[in-house]
Amino acid sequence: MKISRSPWLLHYDASSCNGCDIEVLASTTPRFDVERFGIINTGNPKHADIMVVTGGVNAQTKQVVRQLYSQMPDPKVVIAAGICACDGGIFKDCYNISGGVDTVIPVDVYVPGCAVRPEALIDGVVKALAILDEKREAMKNHATCEVHFDKA
């Protein structure tokens, strides 16, 4: 498949155990090196095309995740990295976890794993790029890019 542009990535730890976070970081370093695809890990949501969220969300991070997502320019895709981000994982039953990231913002790609392996994550990013291209096409055709906010 072709990767047409150089997508930038925003990583946020919603309430992860760090395992997935270091794997996200590890995938940008020499062994796995997603940067060779032009992907750069940025800290600024306004620069980012792809949002990678690790960990399930709690009452505290809900607002932060929502805010970061709304600051990103369209088109954008969201990757839930690790099983906790997908549905809460082992911490599902904890009193302070309200579930996966998709309870707050729409998720395009789910990458399971505990912790997520860099290979899986890169695969997820590549999938996300295809979705990003689709969304870009849709925007070109004047279709509006939908943003869902579920019960605020």
């Binding site: 709690n58 009452a59 505290q60 009193y95 302070n96 309200s98």
Partner: protein
């Protein structure tokens, strides 16, 4: 090796801790446990590689004296105990008044049925 958990009264904890402070012990940790008839608070002090465990018992709704004047880092543990177990602690040097842990559920480790009654 059997560990010794020395039980002292909630009222004498300050004097107990005072004597440890004079012997140059350091605070290792404070931990609260929810038990059937209230809460237990376990203080661990250390000197070199030795440790001393002191335990107090407190009933629901009772106030506990802070030891943060004697052991400065205690403010963090005591705020945590207040936020998670809902135990009132008096005289913390840096009192967050429930603002250290921002949890969805207030005092998640507190006794449930009594909380609902309130």
């Amino acid at each position: 090796m059997e560990q010794e958990f020395r039980r002292v009264s909630r009222r004498t904890i300050l004097s107990e801790v005072q004597s440890l402070e004079e012997e140059h012990y350091r605070l290792i940790q404070i931990c609260a446990t929810t038990v059937e008839d209230g809460y237990e608070i376990l203080y661990t002090f250390g000197k070199g590689y030795d440790e001393v465990q002191v335990k107090i018992h407190t009933d629901e709704g009772e106030h506990v004296q802070s030891i943060s004047r004697l052991f400065p880092p205690a403010w963090l543990y005591e705020n945590e105990i207040h936020d998670l177990h809902g135990i009132a602690i008096d005289g913390i040097t840096l009192d967050f008044r429930g603002g250290l842990y921002r949890t969805k559920e207030k005092a998640p480790f507190a006794h449930k049925e009594e909380k609902e009654g309130k």
